[in-house]
Structure formats: structure tokens, C-alpha cells
């Protein structure tokens, strides 16, 4: 075994510090495996570490970054494929392969770009975009601009082009980073380094691809949340023994009581009530909120989902009917959810909620609110807060606003904080995940 046991233990500790936990038996399994198999190099051992430690996809993705950070080894994501098409210019090919020495190409592009003032406090992506506009860059990818007669060839060509551009841009970004690091002393490093971890990127600053990826993960978190609630609300569907029916049933088997019949259990199932503010101040966060709601509703029936601006609208059935790609359609029909003036009104929305049948006559429900509590200088009635606290077993609140701005201006968050079981700032996926993981629905007492 090339990796030392204490090295693995330190790595496990490092993972713990980064909030990724592995049970000791998984670690011991890994050590047993590595010891017995006598692998020939450390990279192979790290690959096995990557395969054997995680228990789900999210952990696996997180582990990839941590391995890179700790061991300085990057787990390969699989080489992208290029397909030779007859139409490609032969001078750009060597033995039927596209020139894929991206490091050299990016060096040439940077050298030919002219003087670049890396001391300017702009991001690496800015410089990349400048280079992408240059004639040299356009020429570099021009060999993909060929017309094909077949639609299939044309699509394949576009696929090749996309992959090529993606890999070239990556190489360029790496090279730019290297060059800019030479000027590092003049700048705070965080200004120079691109925020690599998408999970920690503010939802507001994600581009379309990143957003799609995060929305997919957010939906999964919705499923996890639903699952948590099911775990705490489920109980046996069997009620008390139905003695009369059991005796009658036993007549079929000559009087032996081999089949017992139970009365159906009649009990009000606790409900999970989800509220998402979709007013203007919520911006893109409401899309993530709605996606989370979608995930929960798809998995779990005993749930009520609402959106609100200046009044409450139930969207449970709409979400059940929706397909994953169409969640945006709720925001597109924003006007339909405006009741008065289109400015968020928490007082009116919570009054609507308390008056609705969903929470009527039950105090075993849980409430999850996604909103910034900005009430447009309207007051919040203390009685409403009191009734909210009495009507719900527990209240959870995700606030997409930076915590330093809470309770400033027209924010009325302080009034809700006291009645919340748990509240937190949620502006990126990592915060959202932490929040969902922290939620702990209390066991319902029957």
C-alpha cells in the first residue's frame, strides 16, 4: 500500500473539516482493500479511494474537489471524444486526429494577442472573452465551419466544435491564471481566482448551464426533504384489530385465526406546507425555491405548496402536473398571482394561509417559508405571528437575503425569527443543502 494509513486518516479529517463525513467502517474497508491488493501506484489507489468512500452522487462530486485539494490529483472525468469527419481540412489533422495540444494552442493565442495588461482588476473570464473575439481564435476554430450534406454529419460537427471550444477555453483559462499569478502580489488572491466551486456560487450569478445543473440538484434536494418528512409522518396503515371481521374470516379456515383483519387507521396525516415568495425582490431565488417545491410535491402527496406576492395562491396541483423543464412557466405567469398591487405583503399572505383549509384544525403541520420578509413598509400584526406559531408544529425559513441586511429597511424578518425552529441565509446550493440536511422534523405524537 503506497498511501499510508495516517495519510488516509488525515484525509478523512480534512474531509470532516470540509463537512464531508465518512464512517469508520468505510475507511477500514478501503484500507483492507488497498493493503490486500498491492496496487502499483498512488494514483490508482486514490482512484479507488474516490470509488469506495462516497455513498451518493453528491458526496462523490464533493470528494473529487477535496482529493484535488489534498493530494493534488485530479480524477479524470473521461476524455471527450472527437470524431473524424471527411470534410475536415487535412492540414489541421494529424493521422486523422484533431490537434489537441491545447496548451500549445493557448500559448500561441496568448502570444499573438498582443500586450495584455494583467494588472487590471478584472476576472480571468474577461480576458478569455477578449481572446475569443480575436481573429486568431476565430481562425483556430474555423476548421469546424464546413457545410455537410447530411444533418447527422452537421450535428456531429457541431458537437465536435462545442467540445473543442470547451477544452480550448479551459486551457486558456488555466494559462491566464498562471500568467496572472505572476502579478499576484499586487492583488488579493480571491480577486484573481475564479470561484471554481459551483455549489458555492450565488444563484444570482449563475449562467444558464450552471443554473440548469444546480436546478437539477435542487430538485433532488426537494426529494430528500420530502423523504425526511415521510420518515417522520409515516406510521403503520393498520388501525385497531377488527375482531368481528377476523372471526368471520376464520370460518373459512375452520375456525383458526390465521388471518387477522385490522380497521383502517383514521388519523389526520401531518402536512408539510411550503410557501415561496415570488415577488420581484426575490429575483432568481424564487426559481430555485419553486424547484425545491417541485421536488417535494413530486415525491410526497401530503404536502401543500403555495406561492405568494400580495396574497396566497396554492400551486400544489399545478406543480404535480408540471414537467421538470416547465417550472419557469409559473414565474412567466407571474401576473396571475398578483392579488392587489404586486408588492409583497407577508401580513396578507400569512392571513390567507391561516384562513385556508390546509392548516385548519391541526397543529401537527410543518411550515417551510422561502422569502426575504421584505414587507414594503407594511406592518405585521403580532396576533398573526402568534397564530402562526400556534398553528404549526415547527416553522423553517430560508432567507435569500444576505444576513447583514436582515431587519434593515422594510425587512420584518426579526418578527418571524423568534417563532422559527430553524432559519438561515440561503443564496447558493451549498447553503440550501446544509439547510435541508439540518431540518429535523420532530416525531409526530399521536
Amino acid at each position: 500500500m503506497i498511501l499510508k494509513t495516517d495519510q488516509l486518516l488525515r484525509f478523512s479529517q480534512f474531509c470532516k473539516e470540509n463537512e464531508l463525513f465518512f464512517s469508520s467502517d468505510r475507511l477500514s474497508d478501503l484500507i483492507i482493500f488497498l493493503k490486500k491488493n498491492e496496487l502499483d501506484n498512488q494514483d490508482t489507489e486514490i482512484n479507488f479511494l474516490y470509488h469506495l468512500l462516497p455513498t451518493n452522487k453528491l458526496e462523490k462530486e464533493r470528494l473529487k474537489d477535496l482529493i484535488n485539494e489534498f493530494f493534488g490529483y485530479s480524477i479524470s472525468a473521461g476524455q471527450e471524444e472527437f470524431l473524424h469527419l471527411d470534410g475536415y481540412k487535412l492540414d489541421t489533422m494529424t493521422d486523422g486526429q484533431i490537434n489537441m495540444d491545447f496548451k500549445n494552442i493557448s500559448d500561441d493565442l496568448l502570444n499573438n494577442f498582443g500586450d495584455i495588461d494583467f494588472s487590471r482588476p478584472v476576472s480571468n473570464v474577461y480576458w478569455l472573452n477578449q481572446i475569443k473575439k480575436s481573429q486568431n481564435y476565430i481562425d483556430e476554430i474555423a476548421f469546424f465551419d464546413i457545410e455537410f450534406n447530411s444533418a447527422l454529419d452537421s450535428i456531429v460537427n457541431n458537437q465536435n466544435k462545442e467540445t473543442y471550444v470547451e477544452m480550448l477555453d479551459l486551457a486558456l483559462l488555466e494559462r491566464i491564471q498562471e500568467l496572472r499569478n505572476q502579478f499576484k502580489e499586487a492583488y488579493v488572491p480571491s480577486d484573481l481566482s475564479k470561484k471554481e466551486d459551483l455549489q458555492e456560487k450565488d444563484f444570482l450569478f449563475t449562467d444558464s448551464d450552471e443554473r440548469n445543473k444546480l436546478l437539477k440538484e435542487t430538485r433532488q434536494l426537494g426529494l430528500i426533504l420530502a423523504n425526511k418528512f415521510i420518515r417522520y409522518s409515516n406510521s403503520s396503515s393498520k388501525g385497531k384489530l377488527n375482531f368481528r371481521k377476523t372471526i368471520r374470516k376464520s370460518l373459512q379456515s375452520g375456525g383458526s385465526l390465521y388471518k387477522t383483519v385490522f380497521k383502517p387507521q383514521i388519523r389526520k396525516k401531518p402536512r408539510l406546507i411550503l410557501l415561496c415568495d415570488i415577488s420581484g425582490s426575490m429575483a432568481l431565488y424564487s426559481l430555485f425555491g419553486l424547484t425545491l417545491l417541485f421536488g417535494v410535491v413530486q415525491r410526497f402527496r401530503s404536502v401543500k405548496a403555495f406561492v405568494f406576492i400580495d396574497g396566497l395562491t396554492e400551486i400544489t396541483k399545478d406543480l404535480q402536473r408540471l414537467k421538470v423543464n416547465n417550472i419557469k412557466s409559473i414565474l412567466n405567469s407571474w401576473n396571475d398571482y398578483v392579488k392587489v398591487d404586486g408588492h409583497s405583503d407577508y401580513q396578507k399572505s400569512f392571513d390567507d394561509l391561516l384562513a385556508s383549509k390546509s392548516v385548519f384544525n391541526s397543529n401537527s403541520n410543518s411550515l417551510l417559508v422561502i422569502g426575504d420578509a421584505r414587507n414594503n413598509y407594511r406592518s405585521i400584526d403580532k396576533n398573526t405571528i402568534y397564530r402562526l406559531s400556534k398553528s404549526f408544529k415547527d416553522i423553517y425559513w430560508m432567507n435569500p437575503e444576505r444576513s447583514q441586511y436582515w431587519n434593515t429597511g422594510d425587512s420584518r424578518f426579526m418578527e418571524f425569527q423568534n417563532i422559527c425552529e430553524h432559519y438561515s441565509e440561503v443564496r447558493n446550493f451549498m447553503q440550501l443543502k446544509k439547510f435541508i440536511m439540518k431540518i429535523n422534523f420532530k416525531k409526530v405524537i399521536k
Binding site: D25, F48, V156, R231, K259
Partner: protein, 279 residues
């Protein structure tokens, strides 16, 4: 612990085209004698992996298809009440009614009692959480407890594979007991191999084009991206019937009306681009 190490070529001999990653994980699971949990979208070859492995390892495949409401009666064992009643009626002195004679073995018990078996728990995410808890003893200790009979321990040399489409999150307890692998849609290289082995008289270049094309479709953010088998069927039909058009028979490939609309739009965009009308 098993000393047998599988290679990619062993998989390929059984018509299963795997990545080195997957082969490594299977070997690790066999070595550590732990169940293998394979998660991934539908139609990526999770169940087929189990079938191929049963061939490769010469083990009897015992399959348990999970569904909502599955319980121990359907999964582990059941007492044959009718037989017990009949035996009481026939022989009043019959005392021991809880013996193997009256036991109906369900897949879990059967797999434990079969000495060289591969036990496939298919689509575990469709079952209820209570059922997951039932499986814990089987997965960790390779045994089940029948109150009337005692504990039935496995005969050894059994291997378990669990598959999940990730429609719900599985419990930590279950995950902890398994080696995990996420089986995603295949890479272009693997998909090409699958097409080549399933479609007759197709050239490697054509097969590669089709697999690049299917990776293009999967990037379209569809509600239901085409699975591997759907792609193979579509290629088979188009290739063998000489249908060159990409928008014909898409019902074989894309099974959602919104997805079909999106696909046609993207094809049109691509054609417009090709004709130079989009710059």
C-alpha cells in the same frame, strides 16, 4: 472475500461494455464481499450488469423486483397456511407446523439458501422505507431471522446487487452497507461499442456518429432523455430500413411530446445554421 479479478474483456465477452471505473468497483465489491449499489437513470444497463455478472461469475441470478408495498411475505418467506390446515385435518397428531415443508421461500431466502447466487434487488427506490430496513440484516449479516425457525444464515459465496433510479433518496443505513456506483449514460466510446454489437452491418464511423448524435440529444435538457436501449433500437430501425432522416420515427427514441417538439426545434435550428440563415 473473492480473489477473482474481472477485466474489461470479461465483460465484453458477455456483451456488456463497461468502463474501467465500473470494473474496478465491481472487483472491489467482490473482494470486500459487500453488496453493490448501482444508481443511475433508467436504461443505462444496471439490471443488465447483474445479468452479465451472473454469467461471468457462473452464479444463479435471483431477482427481486421491488414495488410500492412490497413486504416480507413477498420478499423473504411466507407460511403455507392452506397446507398447514390440510395437514392438521389429515393428521390430527401433526405437531410441528413450522418446518421447511410449510415454508414458501421468496427471493431473499432463496438467495441465502442457494450456495452460489447473485441476488439482484431491482429498483430498490420503488419500495417503501420499511422494506429497506428489512434488507439491512440480509445485506450486512447475510442472514434472515424467521421467528418460528430461528436465523437462516447464507450459504456463502453470494453476491448482491441493488439498483436504483434515484427517484428517492435511500437511507444512510442502506448506503453505508454497500459499495456505491453511479452509472450514468454511456460515453460515446461505450455507446459506439454497444451499437456495433447490436446493429448488424454498421460501420464503426456510422456507429460513432449515431452515438455522438445521441449524446447531442441527451444534452437538450429533455424531460426523459433516451436510454441506451432506445438509441440502439432507433439506430437498428433506421439503419436496417435505410431511413436517413433524423426526424422520422422519433417515437422510438423520444417518448414525450414536449421533448419531441424541442428536438424538432433544435434540428431545425441546426438545419438553419447549416444553410447559413443563422449567423
Amino acid at each position: 472475500m473473492s480473489d477473482k479479478k474481472l477485466q474489461i474483456k470479461d465483460f465484453e465477452k458477455n456483451n456488456y461494455f463497461a468502463t474501467q471505473e465500473l470494473v474496478d468497483v465491481v472487483n472491489a465489491a467482490l473482494f470486500l464481499d459487500k453488496p453493490l449499489l448501482i444508481e443511475g437513470p433508467a436504461g443505462t444497463g444496471k439490471t443488465y450488469l447483474a445479468k452479465s455478472l451472473s454469467n461471468m461469475l457462473s452464479k444463479e441470478l435471483i431477482r427481486l423486483q421491488c414495488h410500492e408495498g412490497i413486504d416480507e411475505d413477498k420478499a423473504i418467506y411466507e407460511w403455507d397456511y392452506k397446507k398447514q390446515l390440510l395437514s392438521i385435518q389429515n393428521d390430527k397428531n401433526e405437531k410441528d407446523l413450522f418446518t421447511d415443508e410449510y415454508l414458501i421461500e421468496r427471493p431473499i431466502l432463496k438467495s441465502l439458501k442457494t450456495s452460489d447466487s447473485l441476488f439482484l434487488v431491482d429498483e430498490i427506490d420503488r419500495s417503501d422505507e420499511e422494506f429497506e430496513a428489512l434488507l439491512l440484516e440480509v445485506l450486512a449479516e447475510k442472514q434472515v431471522t424467521i421467528p418460528e425457525l430461528g436465523t437462516v444464515a447464507g450459504e456463502g459465496n453470494n453476491f448482491t446487487i441493488l439498483t436504483s433510479n434515484a427517484t428517492r433518496d435511500l437511507s444512510e443505513a442502506l448506503r453505508r452497507r454497500c459499495i456505491y456506483f453511479f452509472l450514468d449514460y454511456p460515453s460515446i466510446d461505450i455507446e459506439t461499442k454497444v451499437i456495433l454489437s447490436n446493429v448488424e452491418n454498421i460501420s464503426e464511423e456510422k456507429a460513432k456518429k449515431y452515438s455522438l448524435f445521441s449524446s447531442f440529444i441527451r444534452k437538450l435538457n429533455l424531460n426523459k432523455p433516451p436510454s441506451l436501449i432506445e438509441t440502439v433500437e432507433w439506430v437498428k430501425y433506421n439503419h436496417e430500413n435505410n431511413h436517413g432522416e433524423l426526424d422520422s420515427n422519433i417515437g422510438i427514441l423520444i417518448k414525450d411530446i414536449d421533448d419531441q417538439k424541442l428536438y424538432k426545434e433544435k434540428l431545425k435550428e441546426n438545419n438553419d445554421f447549416k444553410n447559413g440563415s443563422v449567423t
